[in-house]
Symmetry: C2
Subunit: 457 residues, 2 copies
């Protein structure tokens, strides 16, 4: 029989706090009848966000094409019917039930290339795009290529999203954390990158790549163009591949802030010797289609023979799920002005965006007012990562567990993301609905006061 | 820049012939305007198999629940509407756009447990079931647990499905092939298992698990109950975990043959000290929903703390795609007698089954008649793996490439699956439609005669 001690050590050692012990306890409480508010994971539709009508209408027709004839005229807008036909043609007439190419439907990869071109004013190549089961799988494939032995290091932000730490552990590589500067809104500084790189070298680690999450998860910070250019220059000087996690590119709320892609910076500077891997997802942004597991990986300055290795990795499990690929298509091919679906689509999107923007503000302001909690601006993404002052002898994990038991609010301790020695944090999403978010923030505030008193703080 | 020599060696070394160089050449030919018949991969809907109406109607409603109100009464049968409601309730009211639990929707896991119980007359536990993106991902998770270092061996059949060889290479383990006996319809013999096991031990390999594919891919053989019991007894004596690939359990065509599950054999003998991992899929059987990437992994005699490691592996990329999970639900919860969809569902299924059965027969008989080709019975699954006699100095890869160039028929060389030294084979699916399959077989036969002559055979 397979016992726990028989399980491969890298598997046992990998940790993924976002779905770790505290969320597991939350599920237990929920099964026992407690009401739980899941702020542990960026899962908008589980907290009431409605799917975009256009997306779901196309999917219904793509799954069951006879509907276009069986349902009376007018059941679906004409552009929805037309897009469903594009899907049918694009799948070679086979529909969603056939395996796709290993790297994904060609017509979707071409649409993604046009989307990147339009977004950044640069060329993009459908042959350098891979459709993946969510962005996570794209990130994992890239790390899989780069990590050959325990001395291979991957630079990751501190705090980071635990997909990265868990995957590096699983593949037997070395984590090389670079700190973000909490005192300055989680700013990324090149001096810190240099220090982290040199420190790793001194320990015998060979850094192979650097992960940048922009907008930041959990930090909420948004990089500007000079930041992005500086990271690229650093990567170039050090011979590092760049893995740009850009899944929150639509989630920028701070006035004046704008998403700046790594692809645009790379092309703007005509850099030809830095490999760039960028990932994007249907789970975040304004679609929030997490369950559909759609996303893409775009490669730049990656030789064809290396891209073939990525194709092979995808082919071993055949292909990403077809529906997620279609949702990716809809992400990059929305209704156009004049299309019958356009007005509804734009209204639904702007309602979601405006609501996210207001919730980011409410969480940030509400938590900042609490004595013993300080919260940086939620300039982008879907999370706050506030610092908490804890009574001596207590930890952020204990704080989060007590918060869950007392209030039903499920958040994740900072230790799951990494934090400077001697500091404590938690990550919460900003996703509870507008009519509940004030109450959630108030309950966290009251709880913090109680917890501090109860532990003699 | 990442060069090919920078890519981790296990990635470079992994080979997956089903989507390897010959299928890649087929795509090139197709883009250049040639008509290609893809017999390289079990992808029924790409060769004209229609999806089951019930499955697609439920998916359309699950994607776009308002349809139940918007479309006029009678657009969907009442049981389809009811099953779509079960899906809505089962997803906690969140629908398909929210992440599911890491191990999959509970209501689907419970339905899978009931399916196994009904199939085998045994108990099944929803907590020991994992919903996966196709069966491949379940197999990969199990191998990931078992392989810790290069001395960890996994016994695999010869010939085998290259998911196994590729994944073992990728995870840095050792392949321990056990030959199937071609002279006796690819029979699995315990004596061969013993020889293979002892040979591995003598080379310093520690076998940790054994993969059994039943019905066999590519062999087409179907194990009977005594076979299955004997493999279990062998695994028990040697302390091996069993990975039972049972994705073709509905694809049994030979008169008198019946699928015998490992779970039933294990429970029948009350074996409590052999860990069993069984996988199943929506891609094969009579659904053929390959693109949807649905499947499940069932564990028996696997401690909860080991299962938690599987949950963690799934959680790092969050969850399997929701739609594939729903297709898995529909696989195990078909319409029941008396339901409005029942008659159509049964008719569609039996047409597909009967057509597969006839095609298996046509391929087997047609190829067996060709001088220089011998083809074992296609008792189950979706493939023939005929042996070919080749002129001296030629290989099966050359034969397959020439077949593709001359006829447009894409099959995979036996070397991609493993074959006894000095023998040559190819794998073809039995999936071209009934009205084409005779012609496909005839073209292969004519080609073989030409190829043999041209090379002085």
């Amino acid at each position: 029989m397979v016992r726990i001690e028989d399980v491969a050590p890298p598997v046992r050692e990998a940790q993924y706090a976002v779905r770790g012990p505290i969320p597991a306890r939350a599920q237990e409480l929920e099964r026992a009848g407690r009401q739980v508010i899941y702020c542990n994971i960026g899962n908008p539709q589980s907290l009431g966000q409605k799917p975009l009508t256009f997306v779901r209408q196309v999917l219904a027709l793509a799954e069951y094409p006879e509907l276009a004839e069986r349902a009376p005229a007018g059941t679906f807008p004409a552009d929805v019917v037309e897009v469903a036909r594009e899907v049918a043609r694009g799948s070679g007439g086979h529909g969603l039930g056939a395996y796709t190419e290993s790297n994904g439907y060609r017509f979707v990869r071409e649409a993604v290339a046009r989307f990147i071109s339009a977004r950044d004013g640069i060329d993009a190549d459908a042959d350098a795009i891979f459709l993946t089961d969510g962005a996570s799988k794209g990130a994992q494939s890239v790390l899989r290529l780069l990590i050959a032995d325990p001395q291979d290091g991957i630079m990751i932000p501190l705090p980071q999203y635990p997909l990265y730490s868990a995957t590096i552990t699983l593949y037997g590589g070395a984590q090389v954390p670079y700190p973000l500067d909490e005192a300055h809104g989680w700013r990324l500084s090149i001096a810190d990158l240099e220090r982290s790189y040199e420190g790793a070298r001194a320990r015998g680690i060979r850094p192979r790549g650097i992960v940048v999450i922009n907008p930041g998860n959990p930090s909420g910070a948004v990089l500007d163009e000079p930041n992005v250019a500086a990271v690229l220059a650093f990567a170039r000087a050090r011979g590092l591949a760049v893995l740009a996690d850009e899944v929150y590119q639509e989630n920028v709320y701070a006035p004046g802030a704008r998403f700046a892609s790594f692809a645009k910076a790379l092309e703007g500077q005509r850099i030809r010797d830095v490999s760039l891997f960028s990932i994007h997802s249907v789970s975040k942004g304004l679609l929030g289609e997490c369950g559909h597991r759609g996303g893409y990986l775009e490669c730049r300055n990656v030789p064809a023979e290396v891209r073939e290795q990525l194709t092979k990795l995808q082919s071993i499990a055949l292909c990403a799920n077809s529906v997620g690929q279609i949702v990716t298509y809809l992400l990059v091919r929305p209704p156009r002005p004049g299309d019958p679906s356009y007005a509804t689509y734009e209204r639904e999107r702007s309602e979601i965006f405006e609501s996210l923007r207001r919730r980011a503000e409410i969480v940030e302001r509400g938590l900042s007012r609490v004595p013993g909690i300080s919260c940086n601006p939620v300039a982008g993404a879907m999370y706050a990562f506030p610092r908490i002052t804890l009574p001596a002898g207590t930890t952020d994990s204990e704080w989060c567990l007590a918060l869950l038991e007392e209030t039903g609010i499920c958040v994740v301790p900072g230790s799951g993301f990494g934090q400077a020695e001697g500091t404590w944090h938690f990550r919460t999403t900003i996703l509870p609905p507008l009519d509940q978010i004030e109450a959630v923030v108030a309950r966290i505030a009251e709880f913090h006061v109680r917890f501090t008193r109860a532990h003699g703080g």
